[in-house]
């Protein structure tokens, strides 16, 4: 399963020229507003006709300007979750959910409906109308509606952007479940790095209508050269670890490729694979192993690369076994410590975000 996408289109003031391949899983289109993210998904959905380009899902051509192929939107079997939900106000939640199913000529499938209803927690809402739903509930219905239309690809255009932090936290676990349980590739548009770190497997970063970086999320986020493209504020590496123990003092231990992290208890059984994000600004560096310090997460690392930024900051890539971590320190500190490639030192991690179930950002101890 893979999706090939190429879109070239000129708007007044900006030319979009984007091409990438999305493998199975969640591919995040990352970039600021105006970078061309929505143009790309709209072209894939058939809502915008680009001057040049093509989109192919597993050999099925959605459009190809070269061979003059253009499937109308209703024949593409694309599930589109819009930022603003766009539920049909004159239908109940149940009718909204089943709308696409009917047009896809899928057989009546009460079990399938019940599965999605359970997956997204919609049981209580079925007989209500969209006007009586909260923003988060609307978005969950919109996701269910798209899933139930039997799509070969799910497009999500900033599905959380219109929600406040609490509602986002309410929806993210559902999105994770869909990623893990529904076997549908997802193209996820977002300008939020924490969201992407939690959900995405592949990252395609756009700027001014071009692809500036693309690859597995772990690789791209740990690349110090990519920091300028992703934004210094969003710099932070994404690692995968395994819950190795829950300690009686309410701490959980997560094993990385080398060493372990200690976090406040997370709700995941031992052996579960979890994804964590360590922001570059939450990592301190020390040449000697800090002694008599409250921080528990002190990792022995090797400096791989030091990248000078434009400002007072320096981005340092660290190796922890096979994992890569980014640290952001001042140039003065970097010079003072004599940071250079190959130097062994200690990383003091102040804060870690864990993605899995209902675990949100939690401070490390």
């Amino acid at each position: 399963m893979s999706i090939d996408i190429a879109v070239r289109h000129r708007f007044p003031g900006i030319e979009i020229d984007v091409a990438f391949t999305a493998p199975q899983g969640v591919t995040a289109l990352f970039g600021r507003s105006g970078a061309g993210k929505t143009t790309v998904v709209n072209a894939v959905a058939g809502l915008l006709r680009p001057s040049f380009g093509r989109a192919v899902i597993d050999g099925r051509i959605l459009f190809d300007t070269e061979s003059r192929t253009w499937l109308p939107p209703h024949k593409r079997r694309i599930g589109y979750v819009f930022q603003d939900g766009r539920l049909f106000p004159h239908m109940t939640v149940r009718q909204n959910l089943l709308y696409g199913r009917w047009f896809a000529k899928l057989p009546k499938d009460e079990a399938g409906l019940r599965h999605i209803v359970d997956l997204l927690g919609l049981g209580e809402l079925l007989s209500r109308r969209p006007g009586a739903l909260s923003g988060g509930e609307k978005q969950r219905v919109a996701i269910g509606r798209a899933l139930l239309s039997g799509p070969s690809l799910l497009l999500m255009d900033e599905p959380l952007a219109a929600l406040d932090e609490t509602r986002k936290e309410e929806i993210l676990p559902y999105l994770e479940r869909i990623r893990d349980e529904a076997q549908v590739p997802i193209l996820y548009v977002s300008h939020s790095m924490p969201e992407i770190a939690r959900l995405a497997t592949t990252l395609v970063a756009l700027r001014d209508g071009r692809v500036v970086r693309s690859g597995p999320v772990e690789t791209v986020t740990a690349d110090p050269d990519a920091v300028t493209d992703l934004g210094v504020r969003d710099a932070g590496s994404v690692l995968t670890g395994i819950v190795s123990a829950h300690h009686p003092d309410a701490l959980s231990e997560i094993r990385l490729s080398k060493g372990s992290l200690f976090l406040p208890r997370i709700q995941a059984p031992v052996g579960t694979s979890v994804r964590i994000r360590i922001e570059a600004q939450d990592v301190m560096l020390a040449l000697d192993k800090p002694d008599r310090i409250s921080a528990l997460n002190i990792l022995p690392v090797d400096v791989v690369a030091v990248r000078q930024g434009a400002g007072p900051g320096v981005m340092v890539q660290l190796a922890l076994g096979d994992d890569r971590i980014l640290a952001r320190v001042t140039r003065r500190s970097a010079d003072g410590l004599g940071l250079r490639s190959g130097l062994a030192c200690y990383a003091v991690v102040k804060s870690v975000s864990v993605a899995r179930g209902n675990v949100g950002p939690s401070p490390a101890v």
Binding site: H74, K75, Y99
Partner: protein, 233 residues
């Protein structure tokens, strides 16, 4: 009792007017919705010309519209002649002609009301329908149409009321034949022309006011209940 209150001649005019207005409204609804949709949602060459033609009866003197109808739709006219030869359909000096005149005169009002309600439907909802597998016609039938029902209702009532009051074009096109083309306004006019007709005229005026008020109230109630049913209230 209303039958007793009105003379048979007066009653005839009221019944004819109701019949003419009813059919005028019913037959203009499908083209009215189609034209409103074209004007609200589609870009095509000649859109402004279509818009102009639809609105022409609103700005032309009704007598002119009636005369134009007589020229084109009369038995000697280019369209009327063909219709008569092919389908045996005759408009001139028949109640059907009164209905046609009323429909033409009421059409702009109906189209305006429906067009406004279509423009209020978020096109993004229609796009969402398309991504869920519904073709253009299905999107219209399942998303747009239910959402513009209140507008259609208002358009229909407006058209009906306008048809009830149509005078100039009707009398020019189909004249003022009692029992055939003498609608309520023509009857009032005719009664006012003969000595001692004021009583009849006044009774018809009362009926006309009653029907207009009734239609307005009905549309208000219906629009509100439809709005509630489609979750817009």
């Amino acid at each position: 009792m209303i039958l007793d209150w009105l003379t048979p001649e007066e009653w005839q005019a009221v019944a004819l007017s109701l019949r003419v207005s009813f059919w005028a409204t019913v037959f203009s609804l499908p083209p009215g919705i189609a034209v409103a949709y074209l004007l609200a949602r589609c870009e095509f060459p000649g859109k402004q010309i279509l818009n102009g033609i639809v609105h022409l009866p609103l700005i032309l003197p009704p007598v002119v519209t009636g005369y134009l109808l007589l020229l084109t739709m009369g038995t000697q006219g280019p369209v009327g002649g063909v219709l008569k030869d092919l389908f045996g359909l005759v408009f001139a000096f028949r109640w059907t002609g009164a209905a046609l005149a009323a429909a033409v005169m009421a059409f702009p009002l109906m189209v305006r009301a429906i067009r406004l309600s279509i423009e209020l439907v978020d096109p993004k909802l229609e796009l969402a329908g398309a991504t869920l597998g519904a073709g253009r016609l299905w999107v219209f039938a399942t998303v747009t149409l239910p959402l513009i029902l209140p507008g259609i209702l208002v358009g229909a009532i407006l058209a009906f009321a306008k048809a009830m009051g149509e005078f100039g074009a009707t009398i020019t096109f189909v004249s003022n034949i009692p029992g055939q083309t003498q609608t309520l306004p023509s009857a009032i006019y005719a009664f006012l022309q003969v000595p001692g007709g004021e009583g009849s005229a006044l009774r018809l005026v009362a009926v006309s006011v009653g029907i207009a008020m009734g239609a307005l109230l009905l549309s208000e109630i219906a629009a509100r209940s439809v709005s509630k049913r489609i979750g817009r209230a």
